[in-house]
């Protein structure tokens, strides 16, 4: 029995080695230098596509849900990195009816690499509750006034400022020195050794189109050896990048938003608000560095030649931690909590109409505070880069100075599913205890669905 086990193990080992060798055919004498190099290190376009599909849950391609800053279905993870987002959302039951969100992130380099997010939300305008009350059962006038509203009669325009630095934001640029040190730690002296060996190999009179069989003895061997070494170094480099990106995607974000909500007077009063938001995830790069302060200082990393040792080195601990989070995604590895506090001032809305019905609206201005808490749960899938996410959000609007208005509660759950790298399909269930600016209790539930599109980089 024992002999059989040993024999099977031996055969499996041989098969594995044979398989590995089959995947990596050695260079042949008729190869050019370039062909030999690219057997181990595929050309740029192929390398980019292959590696991109391998990095399946990183920050860049992460599903960030719906982009809207002010709608109840907004995600707990706001994207300050993509250049441009567009989202359309519709509803089967009236809450906020059809809405189109345009989202544009603009670099704001006064304090470094900070971003300003400009966003416009065009919502299908409907008659305000005050106007509906005045119109009563006059359906002809209600229809006339509703038809008079256009797509530009309910617009929210906002500007959000998000600092990007070592502690806040998901930009890789802020961590260049740390990442370079970690990669150096992971690759040790291998890269320098490989480059020096190449520099010491005479390429006088040689082009990359030269065939290996035509090169001086030893040169072809060195090229293949360097190509193989570069393949291994590049793989280690990419492993560190991938682990780093996992934690970078969980970095906290802090941002302030100013929103102007314009409404046609028939749709309600316009308002101006200021909002402060904070998002955080438990397994961030900040947290990892705090927990590994001793082995992850610049001086300590520089001493860690054998970077892959999990127990003693920063890069080893980073890789182990990132794998643990990725494997634990459904158990909360990258869940995200977002809280925000908003002060809103609504204008007074006073006007009279004689046609199509004689009505007078006299709504005083008001102030309110809006508290929002949102929790996002990414859902891993077996398909690369097609993860979904759940976002749960509760908004509470405390209208403190107007007895005619009551506080408003909105709760939502949104599931967004990535369909492609740039297209996400969100589906939301929204509960509100009453419509905006409606004093009486009028509980309603809405189902929203839509489409979110991230514009690819316009550079050819």
């Amino acid at each position: 029995m024992r002999v059989r086990i040993v024999l099977c193990t031996f055969l499996l080992l041989c098969a594995a080695i044979a398989g590995a060798q089959q995947q990596q055919p050695p260079c042949v004498p008729s190869d050019t230098i370039e062909q030999c190099w690219q057997r181990y290190n595929p050309p740029l376009a192929m390398a980019t596509a292959a590696a991109a599909s391998a990095v399946n849950a990183e920050v860049a391609t992460a599903n960030t849900g719906m982009p809207a800053m002010t709608l109840p279905t907004g995600s707990s993870l706001k994207d300050f990195l993509s250049l441009f987002n567009a989202a359309v959302q519709t509803a089967t039951v009236t809450e906020n009816d059809e809405a189109v969100t345009l989202d544009w992130n603009v670099p704001f380099n006064v304090f470094g690499d900070d971003k300003i997010k400009f966003q416009a939300i065009f919502t299908e305008a409907t008659l305000s509750a005050d106007v509906k009350t005045e119109l009563g059962s006059n359906t002809a006038a209600t229809t006339t006034l509703t038809d008079s509203l256009t797509e530009t009669d309910d617009i929210q325009a906002s500007a959000s400022y998000a600092p990007q630095n070592a502690y806040f934001g998901r930009s890789i640029r802020q961590h260049g020195d740390l990442l370079a040190a970690l990669i150096e730690s992971a690759t040790g002296d291998d890269e320098k050794r490989e480059l020096q060996l190449l520099a010491q190999t005479s390429f006088a009179g040689v082009t990359t189109e030269a065939k290996l069989q035509d090169l001086a003895p030893g040169v072809a061997t060195q090229i293949e050896s360097s190509a193989r070494a570069e393949q291994q170094i590049a793989a280690r480099n990419q492993d560190v990048l991938k682990a780093f990106a996992t934690l970078l995607g969980n970095q906290p974000q802090i941002y302030g938003t100013v929103v102007y909500h314009y409404r046609n007077r028939l749709a309600g009063p316009s308002d101006l608000s200021a909002k402060f938001s904070y998002e955080a995830s438990g397994n961030s790069l900040n947290r990892f560095l705090r927990r590994n302060r001793e082995r992850c200082s610049s001086a300590a990393i520089a001493q860690q030649a054998n970077g892959l040792d999990v127990s003693t080195t920063c890069v080893g601990a980073l890789s182990a931690y990132a794998k643990q989070i990725a494997g634990d995604m459904n158990a909360g590895g990258s869940n995200r909590l977002a809280v925000s506090f908003e002060y809103k001032r609504s204008d007074a809305n006073r006007f009279s109409l004689t046609e199509p019905a004689a009505i007078t609206v006299n709504t005083p201005g008001s102030h309110s505070l809006v508290y929002t808490i949102a929790y996002g749960v990414p859902m891993s899938t077996t398909v690369d880069n097609r993860e979904g996410r759940f976002d749960f959000a509760v908004n509470y609007e405390d209208v403190s100075n107007d007895p005619m208005k009551t506080d408003r509660l909105i709760a939502s759950v949104t599931y967004s599913q990535k369909l492609t790298d740039t297209v996400t399909l969100p589906l939301s269930l929204v509960y509100a205890n009453h419509a905006d600016y409606l004093p009486a209790t009028d509980r309603r539930v809405g189902v929203h669905f839509g489409l979110n599109y991230k514009l690819p980089d316009p550079t050819p």
């Binding site: 230098i33 370039e34 190099w37 690219q38 290190n41 050309p43 740029l44 390398a47 980019t48 590696a51 991109a52 990095v55 990183e58 920050v59 860049a60 391609t61 990195l81 993509s82 250049l83 992130n105 670099p107 380099n109 690499d113 930009s171 890789i172 640029r173 260049g176 020195d177 990442l179 370079a180 890269e191 320098k192 490989e194 480059l195 020096q196 190449l198 520099a199 010491q200 190999t201 005479s202 390429f203 006088a204 009179g205 040689v206 082009t207 990359t208 360097s226 570069e230 590049a234 480099n237 990419q238 990048l241 991938k242 780093f244 990106a245 970078l248 995607g249 980089d457 316009p458 550079t459």
Partner: protein
């Protein structure tokens, strides 16, 4: 500016030439690096601070060098472009290449070998 392979040999490099490189991106969310190692073991490294907007340059002595160029777009997957060239003693560009990368958090790596005229 021709787009080149991930392995390039520039030869012959006249005396008193210099290796120059500069990088740019459609956003600032990227990392770039250039590492120039000589046959004698000399090691020069440039990073974002040197290369953006750059150019960074290193004088080449009469030995062979091997250079590793890396382009790593960050989370926003910007298109990152690296332009590298050899300037002769008069400032003329005698060899030049451009490489781009746009896959998020995925390093594109290029090797450039420069061979001196006297070799």
């Amino acid at each position: 500016m021709p787009s080149c392979s991930n392995i390039v040999i520039w030869e012959p490099i006249p005396a008193n030439s210099r290796f120059c490189a500069q990088a740019s991106g459609t956003s600032t969310d990227f990392l770039v690096g250039v590492r120039i190692v000589g046959a004698d073991g000399s090691d020069t490294q440039f990073r974002n601070g040197d290369l953006v907007p750059g150019p960074a340059h290193r004088s080449l002595t009469s030995q062979q060098y091997a250079t590793r160029i890396t382009l790593t777009p960050g989370a926003s997957a910007p298109t990152v472009t690296m332009n590298a060239w050899i300037e002769d003693s008069t400032g003329s560009r005698i060899f030049e290449c451009t490489w781009s990368a746009s896959a998020a958090v995925t390093a594109v790596r290029v090797t450039v070998i420069t061979v001196p005229a006297s070799a």
